[in-house]
């Protein structure tokens, strides 16, 4: 195949990013009203060529999982790079309806589930390009308030995380080896979580269950029969949470803040009343964990979200310090802080 990303000036271009042969072939036999299809190997390739050759890209089609690198993370990075706003279509094998709202809010226009059909492609792509400027899509772009962790908090995070990592490193290595010995699979497990500013990241934990191919983050959270011996110990001592120190170092999380949430749960909180909880640091420890009444048993979801919102409204370095110091006595009280997660 010859790689020729040029197009006559003003011709509308449909950019295919990292799509497979079938997708390309299907699109090339569609009637897309004389728009030119150009394939790009990656988003970076598309961005650089689009600038260099002044391409008039009117739509982007990519292929992969919604949460994978070609899905939501790609849309977000294009938004961040201020790439011109165009309809964004994703071709995917796995369409999980639980995260479709999240996909829409992130800026994915539509998803084509494989096997894709020509009428669907033509109907959606042509319509969205033709009506893009009239479709007054509000939730993306300018209107969204963004949140950045305050400098003092970040500094504290880095100092504490570095200090703890250095001290505990030998223990980490021993734990990793023990997990490896106890059952097959990686020592550290990651699951997608939503943190500060509604950013999605991979949260690290020590693996406490045996590996199961169909494991979803939901299964991971529920205490179940798959928990390993060492897993039980790590969970009860909260040591399984320690790898989050790496998330802190990477800047995904803070030491103190609202607990990052699994996607399906975060999605339920995108309402005016609760969205505020994401306008605060995402922390390893926070108000739920420290609140005494939490230890008495189940705290209702409602009051949990209210605690989070209150924290977001009042967050300050002093409050963080208080919560941080109160975490230690809370740790030794009975009850699991992650009961309802």
């Amino acid at each position: 195949m010859t790689y020729n990303p040029t197009a006559p000036k003003n011709q509308q271009v449909i950019a295919l990013v990292d799509c497979d042969r079938t997708t390309y072939t299907m699109l090339s036999i569609c009637n897309l009203q004389n728009r030119k299809i150009i394939e790009f190997k990656s988003a970076a390739d598309m961005i650089s060529n689009s600038e260099k050759l002044q391409l008039n890209i009117v739509t982007i089609v990519s292929q992969g999982d919604i949460m994978g690198p070609m899905g939501i993370p790609l849309v977000e990075s294009l938004n961040k790079k201020k790439f011109q706003k165009t309809p964004f279509f994703l071709v995917t094998n796995n369409l999980d309806m639980n995260i479709c709202k999240l996909a829409l809010r992130a800026g994915i226009t539509d998803i084509f589930k494989i096997p894709i059909t020509i009428p669907k492609l033509e109907t959606r792509i042509n319509f969205m390009i033709d009506n893009w400027s009239d479709l007054n899509i509000t939730s993306k772009g300018g209107k969204k308030k963004s949140y950045a962790v305050p400098f003092a908090t970040r500094l504290f995070d880095i100092l504490v995380a570095t200090f703890c990592t250095l001290i505990f490193l030998p223990f980490f290595l021993i734990i990793c080896i023990l997990i490896k010995i106890s059952s097959k699979g990686p020592a550290i497990y990651s699951s997608l979580k939503v943190g500060a500013d509604y950013k999605i990241f991979k949260q690290y934990k020590f693996r406490i269950t045996t590996v199961n191919n169909s494991t979803s983050p939901v299964d991971y959270e529920s205490p179940d029969a798959r928990m390993t011996g060492i897993g039980k110990f790590l969970k009860s001592t909260k040591i399984d949470e320690f790898p989050q120190l790496f998330n802190v170092l990477k800047g995904n999380m803070s030491i103190v803040g609202n607990s990052p949430l699994p996607l399906y749960e975060a999605e339920k909180l995108t309402t005016d009343k609760y969205i505020l909880r994401f306008m605060a640091p995402a922390g390893i420890t926070g108000s739920w964990q420290v609140e005494k009444r939490f230890n008495k048993g189940r705290i209702s979801e409602e009051s949990r979200w209210i605690l989070d919102s209150n924290y977001a409204q009042n967050q300050s370095f002093m409050i963080d310090m208080q919560l941080f110091l109160r975490t230690f006595p809370a740790l030794f009280k009975k009850g699991s802080i992650h009961k309802i997660e």
């Binding site: 479709c100 539509d110 669907k120 109907t123 009506n131 479709l135 339920k268 995108t270 009343k273």
Partner: protein
């Protein structure tokens, strides 16, 4: 604007006539959470913002994008195609009804309609979907 987190079923009404909007939202609001869009294009951008209703009720003659246009877009979208649609239209010709149902609508109710019957039809569809 957007749906709240309540557990009540959510209905999106697409209707340009303000009087009709008022009747429908007053009547349906007793048991459902109702949002109204003036035309098909507004309805699509409402969906595009991540507001997924449990049911859409649309007029056929709406400005900018009419009911059939809206139906085509929703049924061609893998994200929206499972949302059931009731057409609510002043036209009652059998060919229009056939066309609407073939385009993917769950039901076709002609105006003037009996609100109680309309609500019963809504209930049937939601019941069938287990909502």
């Amino acid at each position: 604007m957007g749906f709240t987190n309540s557990t009540r079923a959510k209905i999106l009404v697409v209707e340009d006539d303000t009087f009709m909007q008022k009747i429908l939202s007053t009547f349906l609001s007793k048991n459902y959470e109702v949002q109204v869009c003036d035309n098909g294009l507004d309805a699509l951008s409402f969906l595009q913002d991540g507001n997924i209703p449990d049911l859409i009720m649309t007029d056929l003659n709406t400005p900018k994008l009419n009911g059939f246009g809206l139906l085509d877009q929703i049924k061609a979208s893998d994200l929206f195609k499972d949302i059931p649609i009731i057409i609510l239209s002043g036209e009652e010709g059998s060919d229009k009804k056939t066309k609407g149902l073939n385009a993917g609508a769950e039901d076709y109710v002609s105006k003037p309609f009996n609100p109680t019957e309309l609500e019963a039809r809504v209930k049937v569809i939601l019941r069938r979907l287990g909502k």
